[in-house]
Amino acid sequence: MKKILLMGNPNVGKSVVFSRLTGVNVIQSNYPGTTVGFTKGHLKIGKNEMDIIDVPGTYSLSPSCKAEEVARDMFFDEKPDLIINVLDVTNLERNLYLTLQILEKNIPTVILLNMWDAAKRKGIHVNLEKLQEIIGLKVIPAVAVTGEGIKDLVNIIDEITLNKNIKLSKIPKMDDSEKWAFIGEILSEVQKIEHRHPSLLEKLEDASVKPFSGIIIAIIVLFITMQVIIGIGEFLINYILDPLYYQYYGPFITSLVQNSIPTGFIHDILIGSGYEYETSFGLLTTGIYVIFAVVLPYILSFYFILGFLEDFGYLPRLAVLLDSIMHKLGLHGYATIPIILGFGCNVPAMLSTRILEGKREKFIATTLIAISIPCMAQTAVIIGLLGKYGIQYIILIYGTLLILFIVLGSILNFLLKGESPEIFFEIPPYRIPHMETLLKKTWMRVKGFLLEALPFVFLGILAINILYLIGVMGALSNLLSPIMSQMLGLPDQAIDALIMGFLRKDLATAMLAPLNLSPNQLVVACTVLATSFPCIATFVVLIKEIGVKDMLKTVVLMLSVALITGTILNLILNGLL
């Protein structure tokens, strides 16, 4: 089968083109480094079938980070039949450098000039005929988000992959300075720029990175973000999902199971003691409730807001603002992006640490995220458990985690040899998010959550029931009882929850509900759960990203941090310290 690679600079819209061509949805955002691995898709034009690969963005074929290495390796190893080189037409000069590098390798190439609409707005005019003439290849103007130009692209792909009309560029090999000089010539021939006054958005762009206005904007963004996430989440729970569960689903499923399955092990696993009880822990009662009526609403609101901030282009600016502080923690500003993703789910956060250059930085970033960034699933349950006692308890948990983040970062920065590299990246322009794309992205992430959460939560409930049945839980409780009561001030039963934390943090946190803990005990238990151990999904990604050895170090660190923090919190809250 023919193979096509989508290549181009970071943040030019390759993933949008990819989705348009293949129908495969991939996460797209407005910042460099959204795609860190590659996604494969399939395109069928009539009987002509081919594979399309969405390659991470790169400025050149000589890489400076892991994501760019992926791009280079794919280019040289995959032996593509066709390259679709996506360019941001508003920044032709820089984009053409990679184009020239690609063209000199003599692989059939199509040039797609994306962001054609933005160029018009900015007063940039490009003479397509002349550009085609100089490069000797077909050049297609496009607005990938709206689909403009994609049809032309498909026609050309069809022609070339059917071995019709293959043209190679006749541009000779050049060294770097010749390349830049040639690009200069091309631009003076094909491009005209009218001067325009900066728009309001452009003024806002500058204000968000300037020291004073930047910090104020960051605080406002943070405040609004939290308000909206909690607002949407609570609304969905109180007015839609809770009523649905308690009035319709719960009674229905409970009576259905009661009427069809005799009491016993299976009955208990399915519905526990019935939908009315927090303690029931049946697959179809508490399991479904926790996922759909406690966690899902917050996942939905979080990813909608995150998607908005991503597509708007705010996150890289936050990265610039926080760069100095992050350096003191052994990281650099761009680590802000994996950290923010971590508040949604630690798994994509670990993957996105690939945009960081060094091994040391990657280790610090993954460790700090695993320890002190609770995922939205866990946050949702924490809000559910402690919200009724007042916001101060939730602040206490997050405050503790923030202190841990800073203290651990400083220690790791001090202990590990080396320095974090300096940041150097493009700050994308602000763009008004495209609603359809934003909703699609939110839906993809929510779907991803459900696909991952449902099996693990079910498995968890099953496992805990079986472990009880064979007496393992009882033995563990006895063994760990001194730690629980003397150090953490928690009852023995909380051990179940801590063990479940290895499988899923949301379910584990929910298991604290029936224990009748005081708010202070809940604070200790939630904090220990958040810090103690990565959930199994994160665990697997961690091994892949940093290797078994570093992962073991991280886990030992996590367990000790969890115990120490839990003990100190317990002592402080009980007035003993």
Partner: protein
Amino acid sequence: MITLVELKNGKNATIKKIEGGPGLKNRLEVMNLREGKRIRKTCSAPLHGPVVLEIDGFKMAIGRGMAKKVWVEEI
């Protein structure tokens, strides 16, 4: 000639020289930060943070250490 760090906020300048090894030079160059290019310094981020600058309407952030190696002449 002054370095990017010394250049005042809001000023335009032309890049005259980039110090440092071929690795750094190449990294800056592929992002279009090269000798002869006109730039505008937007600001420095708080707490001695990175320098934010604009080339052809595109913004980028560059760490202070790197910015010290970029020599410019104010226009």
